[in-house]
């Protein structure tokens, strides 16, 4: 299973002279396995670049098929879709998996980006076939040889994290999530707290994350804030690298990939975040990396 990063930046895409090593495009991750239709997680500005590489193959002949796992629909995760070349070729087929929203379903949300006031190409001029599937947190489903399970994360609105397995390899992607101990952000969470009680709900939520990450080869995790930056912003729906490390350790993850770098952070800040996290992980047998645009990580499928 090959995991490729096309956008690693959170909040908004940003072009700066001092962030070209890690990259300034907003979130997009591609997962490939031999003989399988590729999976794409999120359509931030990174998906434009992914799309141009896909047009070298069957997607340029209208014979491509891919499945899109939607984490959530904040701008930084969807603004690249209108610039994703393969959507414009009849015959290509895309199936979106999302949690839906109380306010609007995914097709309406995507269509909203193509309103005439805001974008020159109407949504119905995207010639590819698009299928929309709604999934529930906790639900497990298969796409070819991939087994996928989703969990709700602690972020405003409905945000899903996913575990994707292929043969013996497993990757978990939590793009945007905050410590549940300080604040409950997700849709439906305050109701659940009222019903179960805060301590029980927090424990229940945390167990769910740990269970989903258990033994994963790689956890791609929100690391937006530095440890001192999160103070006063616990309700923004993001984590620090140490939050990600703590979850990795508890769940026995092999490789932590720091992700969703803050737009204010230049390459040197991400370097320092990585060095600090590696130091904190010293001696526990956990590999730590920071996601870079263009980075591809192969997860062995036959090791166990």
């Amino acid at each position: 299973m090959l995991v490729t990063f096309w956008g690693v930046r959170g909040s908004y895409p940003i072009a700066r002279r001092d962030n070209v090593r890690y990259g300034g495009n907003s979130t997009c991750v591609q997962i490939q396995a031999p003989g399988e239709a590729p999976l794409i997680m999120d359509g931030g500005s990174g998906i434009r670049v992914l799309g141009s590489t896909m047009l070298d193959g069957p997607f340029n002949r209208g014979e491509g098929e891919a499945n899109i796992l939607v984490g959530h629909t904040h701008w930084d995760h969807i603004l690249g879709y209108p610039f994703f070349g393969p959507f414009y070729f009849a015959g290509n087929r895309f199936t979106f998996y999302s949690a839906g929203q109380a306010e609007a379903d995914l097709p309406l949300i995507l269509e909203g980006q193509h309103e005439e006031l805001h974008f020159p190409v109407p949504f119905d001029e995207l010639r590819a076939e698009m299928v929309f599937e709604r999934i529930r947190p906790g639900e497990q489903f298969t796409l070819g040889g991939f087994t996928i399970e989703a969990v709700q994360l602690n972020h405003p609105g409905i945000t899903l994290g996913y575990r994707v397995e292929h043969r013996d390899a497993a990757v978990v992607i939590f793009t945007d999530t905050a410590r549940i101990a300080s604040v409950q952000q997700g849709q439906g969470m305050s109701e659940a707290v009222a019903e179960e009680g805060l301590a029980t709900y927090q424990d229940h939520f945390h167990r769910g994350l740990v269970d989903l990450c258990r033994g994963a080869d790689m956890l791609v995790h929100d690391s937006h804030f530095l440890e001192d930056e999160i103070v006063g912003k616990e309700h923004w729906g993001h984590s620090t690298a140490l939050d990600a490390l703590s979850l990795s350790r508890e769940a026995g993850v092999r490789h932590l990939m720091l992700f969703h770098h803050a737009p204010e952070h230049g390459d040197d800040v991400v370097d320092r975040k990585l060095a600090f996290t590696r130091q904190a992980a010293d001696g526990i047998g956990l590999k730590v990396s920071a996601a870079r645009e263009g980075m591809a990580v192969e997860l062995s499928e036959t090791k166990k």
Binding site: Y12, P13, N19, T73, I78, I109, G112, H118, P120, P156
Partner: protein, 272 residues
Amino acid sequence: MKIRFWGVRGSVSAPGPQTIRYGGNTPCVEVEGEGGETFVIDAGYGVVGLGQRLMEQGNGTTVHLLLTHLHWDHIQGLPFFAPIYVPGSQVIIYSVSVKTAQAAMDRLFTSVYSPIMGVENLGATVAYEEVTGVFRLGGVTIEPVILDHGVPTFGFGIQDGSKMVFHATDHEGGDRHCDSRLVAAARGADLLIHDAQFTREEYRRYRGWGHSHTDAALQNALDAGSRRLALFHYDPTHTDADVDGQLEMAREQVRDTSLEVLAAQEGLELEF
């Protein structure tokens, strides 16, 4: 008069090593008049950097924001424009229509797209002005001109005493009627900032997309008798080397004229 380019890229941000010199953030231009009055044209992601500078200057600012039109790449930076969260600050949006500008703001901040969960959660006061003709900001006179871009889109002629800048993006040059309006209003401009999304060769495939090729920008600058032309709104697929090529070809073509051509660059400041 001073012009500062905060974002010069068209359509969608294109960060990376290939765009580092000209810049990869979507459009935003700051104009400062002789009397110190400052205003902003468009709020693509380039506006984020401007917002950070305004925050360093202290709170309680009033920002005059002129929107050419409401395509995402010209407004998408507003949710990340720091002064919009500061109580006591004011953002005044000048656009084609109050109703559509308000609708655009609602969409930018609505909960399905934004963690801010609604325009009512902004700290600053947002006011809307409908631009129906020539108006003034301090000592600066602004003349709106409708460009050729599918949706109603303003070019802005900005006059301060004897100095004049004309801002013309997004615009598909080539339609004589529409170009003549632009040329008349931009007559004698010290600087014409003009859409140059495509090369002439590329334009053949993108006719009708609402953007100009380099030669169309040159033609309008020559017809208007502008002193300088700044190429602007580069295609996201264009690398720095591509823009260098556009600039070089443009300069070659006007070698025998007095028109000076430059390529807008993030961070560039021009003074007249």
